[in-house]
C-alpha cells in the first residue's frame, strides 16, 4: 500500500528531492516532494535554422510555447502513440529535453540529490524501457521507471482487485491490480483513445460541413469542452469560419456519436481482462474500476460504461479526481516509499 510520506526524521530527506513524473503522449506532468507541481503539453521544438533561433531567442521550446511557434520549429511529440517513435536520436533527444525542462520547473536547486520515479505509457515501457531510462538518467541521481497505470493505482492506493483504465491521447491503457506489480498479462493497450476520437470527429465534421475548415486544435478543444456520452441537457454549438464568416454549427449529435464510440471498445477490453482474472475476485474488481487520464473527463463516460457492462453484472466505475496529476502523484508516492537501499543501487 502506498504508505504515508517520508518524514524529515529520515536523515537524508532534506537533501534528497523526490520527484514523480508522468510522461504522456499529449501531456507530461511533474510533482516534487518540495510541493511544486507543473504540467506541459508534450511538444518539443528546436528552431529550424539560425534565423529562427535568433528570432525566438531560445535553443529549444516546449508545450504551448512550441506549438505557437511551430512554423519556425522542428516540432515533435516524442511519445506519439505511446512509444518513443522510431527510436531515432531526435525523439530520444526530445524526451531528454522534455524531462530536463520538467525537472527545472520544480526548482531542484544545486545541492539536492534527485530521486525520480517516472510513469510512462504501458506500451513505451514494454517496447523501449532502456531508451526512456537513458533519456531521464542524466537529470536524476537515481531513477525508477514504471508503467503509467501502475503509478496511478499506486497513488490511489488501489493495489488489489482493481482495474485502472487510463484514457490518454494515443492509447487507453488497462491495468488490473492484484496486490503485486502488474505483469504483461494484467495489462492491455488499445489505440482507441483521445487522438482517435479527434480523428473521428474531424472526419465526421468535414464530411457534414465540407465548406468549413476545422483544425486539429479546434477539434480537440470542442471535444474537451463538450465531449459527452448519454443524454445531455445543452446543445453543443461551435463557431467556425465558413468563407471568412464566423458561423455557429450545432454539433451535439456528432460529438455524442463520436464519444459514444469509445464505450463499446472500453467495455470489450474491460470484460476481456476481467474474464481472465481469478473468478473468486472478479466481482470485487467490478466494484473497483477507475477511469484515469484526460479522456476520463468526458461527461457521462463512467455511467455510459456502467450501462454498457450491465449485461455482465453490476459495476462500480468512477473517474478519479485530479486526472492531470494522478500519474505524477502516484509516481511521487512510489518514489517516497521506495527504500533507500533500492535507490542507492539505481
Amino acid at each position: 500500500m502506498p504508505a504515508k510520506k517520508k518524514t524529515t526524521s529520515n536523515g537524508s530527506a532534506d537533501r534528497i528531492l523526490y520527484i514523480g513524473i508522468d510522461l504522456g503522449t499529449s501531456r507530461s506532468a511533474i510533482v516534487a516532494s518540495n510541493g511544486k507541481r507543473e504540467w506541459v503539453q508534450s511538444y518539443v521544438g528546436w528552431p529550424k535554422d539560425f534565423v529562427s533561433k535568433k528570432m525566438l531567442g531560445r535553443d529549444v521550446l516546449f508545450g504551448s510555447d512550441a506549438l505557437e511557434n511551430r512554423l519556425s520549429l522542428r516540432l515533435t511529440r516524442p511519445l506519439e502513440q505511446g512509444v518513443i517513435r522510431d527510436g531515432t536520436q531526435q525523439d530520444e533527444d526530445a524526451v531528454r529535453a522534455l524531462v530536463h525542462h520538467l525537472i527545472e520547473q520544480v526548482n531542484p536547486g544545486k545541492a539536492a540529490e534527485i530521486y525520480a520515479a517516472v510513469g510512462v505509457p504501458a506500451e513505451a515501457l514494454r517496447v523501449n524501457k532502456l531508451a526512456i531510462r537513458n533519456a531521464v538518467k542524466e537529470y536524476a541521481d537515481s531513477l525508477m521507471v514504471v508503467s503509467e497505470p501502475f503509478a496511478v493505482a499506486y497513488g490511489l492506493g488501489t493495489l488489489n482487485n482493481a482495474l485502472i483504465i487510463d484514457i490518454g491521447a494515443g492509447t487507453a491503457d488497462f491495468c488490473i491490480m492484484h496486490g503485486t506489480m502488474p505483469g504483461e498479462e494484467d495489462q492491455r493497450t488499445i489505440t482507441v483513445a483521445g487522438d482517435y476520437l479527434d480523428q473521428q470527429l474531424k472526419n465526421r465534421l468535414n464530411e457534414k460541413h465540407p465548406e468549413a475548415r476545422f483544425s486539429e486544435t479546434m477539434i480537440r478543444t470542442f471535444k474537451e469542452e463538450h465531449g459527452f456520452v448519454g443524454s445531455h441537457r445543452e446543445r453543443v454549438k461551435i463557431k467556425v469560419p465558413i468563407g471568412g464568416v464566423s458561423t455557429a454549427l450545432d454539433v451535439t449529435a456528432d460529438v455524442r456519436a463520436v464519444c459514444e464510440g469509445l464505450v463499446p471498445v472500453l467495455a470489450e477490453a474491460t470484460m476481456d481482462l476481467i474474464a481472465r482474472y481469478e473468478p473468486d475476485f472478479q466481482e470485487e474488481v467490478k466494484q473497483n474500476v477507475f477511469l484515469a487520464g484526460g479522456g476520463s473527463q468526458i461527461k457521462g463516460l463512467a455511467e455510459g460504461l456502467t450501462e454498457e457492462l450491465k449485461q455482465f453484472g453490476s459495476f462500480n466505475i468512477r473517474p478519479i479526481d485530479d486526472p492531470l496529476y494522478a500519474g505524477a502523484e502516484g509516481a511521487l508516492a512510489l518514489a517516497q516509499d521506495m527504500p533507500e537501499e533500492y535507490w542507492e543501487d539505481m
Binding site: K48, L67, R70, L71, R74, L75, T76, R77, Q81, V83, R85, D86, G87, T88, Q89, V127, N128, K129, L130, A131, R133, N134, L143, M144, V145, V146, L159, G179, T180, M181, E184, E185, I190, T191, V192, Q199, N203, N206, E207, S215, E216, V265, E268, R276, L334, D337, M338, P339, Y342, D345, M346
Partner: protein, 329 residues
C-alpha cells in the same frame, strides 16, 4: 511490490546495452534517407500533383486514404516539405506510383496468403475456405501494389502446400521490406464478426497461444527453435514498425468494413507469436481480414467485388503506413 519495481528496473539497466547499440545503428540508417525523401516529396508534388488520378481505383465512400488516419497535416515538421494538404490528398487518390515518391527503403512487399494445398485453413459457411480467400485477396492486392510501383512477391502463387518454415525462409531470401500475411478467422460457436491484426511479439496470453497454435500448424520448428527466435527478437525497430503497420491495416479494415457491416467488432492490434512473422527484419503483420463463420461475411466473400474491396482495404492500410512513415522522417 516495491521490490519488484526495483528488480524490474535493475534488469532494464543491466540488460540493455546490446539493444541500445542495435538501435543506434538503425537510427543512423534511417536518418540517411531523410533528405532525399523530402526532396522527392517536393519534386513529386510538382510532377504528379496535376494528374487526373483515376486509374480504376474504386472509391469506398467515406474513408479515403487521407481521411482515414493520416497524421496531423497542419502541425509540425510536415510544413517543411511545403505540402499543401489538398494537393497531397488528390495525389493519393489515383494510382500514383507511390514507391517512387515515398520511402525509398520500401520496394519489395512480400504477401503471404495463409494456408494452401493440403492445409485448407478454416472452413467457413457456404463452402468458403480460408486458403481460397487468402490467395484470391493476395493476388488482387499484388496487382494493386504493383500499380503503385512496388515489387510484390508471394509465398505461394497457387493452391499449394507451403510450410511455415518455407514461408519464413522465402522472406529471408528476398530483400523483403514489408511482410503481410493474410488470413481469415472462424468462430464456429459464435455469430460474431470481428477483425484483428497481429504483429510479431512474444505474448503469453493463453487464447493467443491457442490461435497461434492453429496458425502455426505446419511449422516444423521445435519449441526450442521457437524460443530461440523469440529471444533473438531484439529489434525494437521491427517491433515498433510492425505495430504501426498493423495499426494502419487494422484501422483501414475496420473503418471500411463498417460501412457495410456496422456491427463488425474491432479487436484491435495484438502481439502474437506467429512463426510466419519471423521471416525477416522487415515490419511483419498477420491480418485476419474477415470471419468465415459469419453468414453475412461468407455471403459477401463469395462475390468478387467484395474480395476486391478487401484487397483495397489492405492496400489503403499499407499505403497509409508508408506515407506516415515517410512523413515521420
Amino acid at each position: 511490490m516495491l521490490r519488484r519495481v526495483y528488480e524490474e528496473n535493475r534488469r532494464i539497466k543491466d540488460g540493455g546495452a546490446a539493444e541500445a547499440a542495435l538501435r543506434r545503428r538503425y537510427a543512423t540508417l534511417w536518418a540517411g534517407g531523410v533528405v532525399l525523401i523530402l526532396l522527392l516529396v517536393v519534386v513529386g508534388v510538382q510532377l504528379f500533383g496535376e494528374e487526373p488520378g483515376d486509374a480504376g481505383t474504386p472509391d469506398f465512400g467515406a474513408t479515403t486514404i487521407l481521411d482515414a488516419n493520416l497524421p496531423v497535416l497542419d502541425v509540425g515538421p510536415d510544413a517543411d516539405a511545403g505540402l499543401d494538404p489538398d494537393q497531397f490528398r488528390e495525389m493519393l487518390k489515383g494510382s500514383t506510383p507511390l514507391a517512387a515518391l515515398f520511402d525509398l527503403q520500401v520496394r519489395t512487399i512480400v504477401l503471404d496468403p495463409g494456408h494452401g494445398g493440403d492445409d485448407p485453413g478454416a472452413i467457413g459457411l457456404k463452402e468458403v475456405w480460408e486458403k481460397d480467400v487468402t490467395l484470391d485477396v493476395a493476388r488482387r492486392l499484388r496487382r494493386r501494389l504493383e500499380q503503385r510501383g512496388y515489387t510484390v512477391l508471394m509465398t505461394r502463387e497457387e493452391d499449394e502446400t507451403v510450410s511455415l518454415r518455407e514461408r519464413v525462409e522465402f522472406a529471408n531470401r528476398q530483400p523483403t521490406d514489408l511482410f503481410v500475411s493474410i488470413h481469415a478467422n472462424s468462430f464456429p460457436d459464435a455469430p460474431v464478426n470481428a477483425l484483428e491484426t497481429y504483429y510479431f511479439g512474444a505474448n503469453t496470453e493463453r487464447t493467443l497461444l491457442r490461435l497461434a497454435e492453429a496458425e502455426n500448424q505446419g511449422s516444423d520448428y521445435t519449441l526450442a527453435d521457437f524460443n530461440d527466435m523469440i529471444r533473438r527478437l531484439s529489434s525494437t525497430v521491427k517491433l515498433q514498425e510492425s505495430r504501426r503497420l498493423a495499426t494502419a491495416v487494422q484501422r483501414s479494415l475496420v473503418s471500411n468494413t463498417r460501412i457495410e457491416a456496422p456491427n463488425v467488432q474491432d479487436w484491435g492490434v495484438k502481439a502474437g507469436p506467429f512463426v510466419v512473422l519471423l521471416g525477416s527484419d522487415a515490419p511483419s503483420i498477420l491480418a485476419e481480414i474477415s470471419v468465415l463463420s459469419n453468414a453475412a461475411q461468407a455471403d459477401r466473400l463469395q462475390t468478387e467485388a467484395h474480395r476486391e474491396q478487401l484487397a483495397a482495404f489492405l492496400e489503403e492500410g499499407v499505403l497509409n503506413y508508408l506515407v506516415d512513415r515517410s512523413r515521420r522522417q
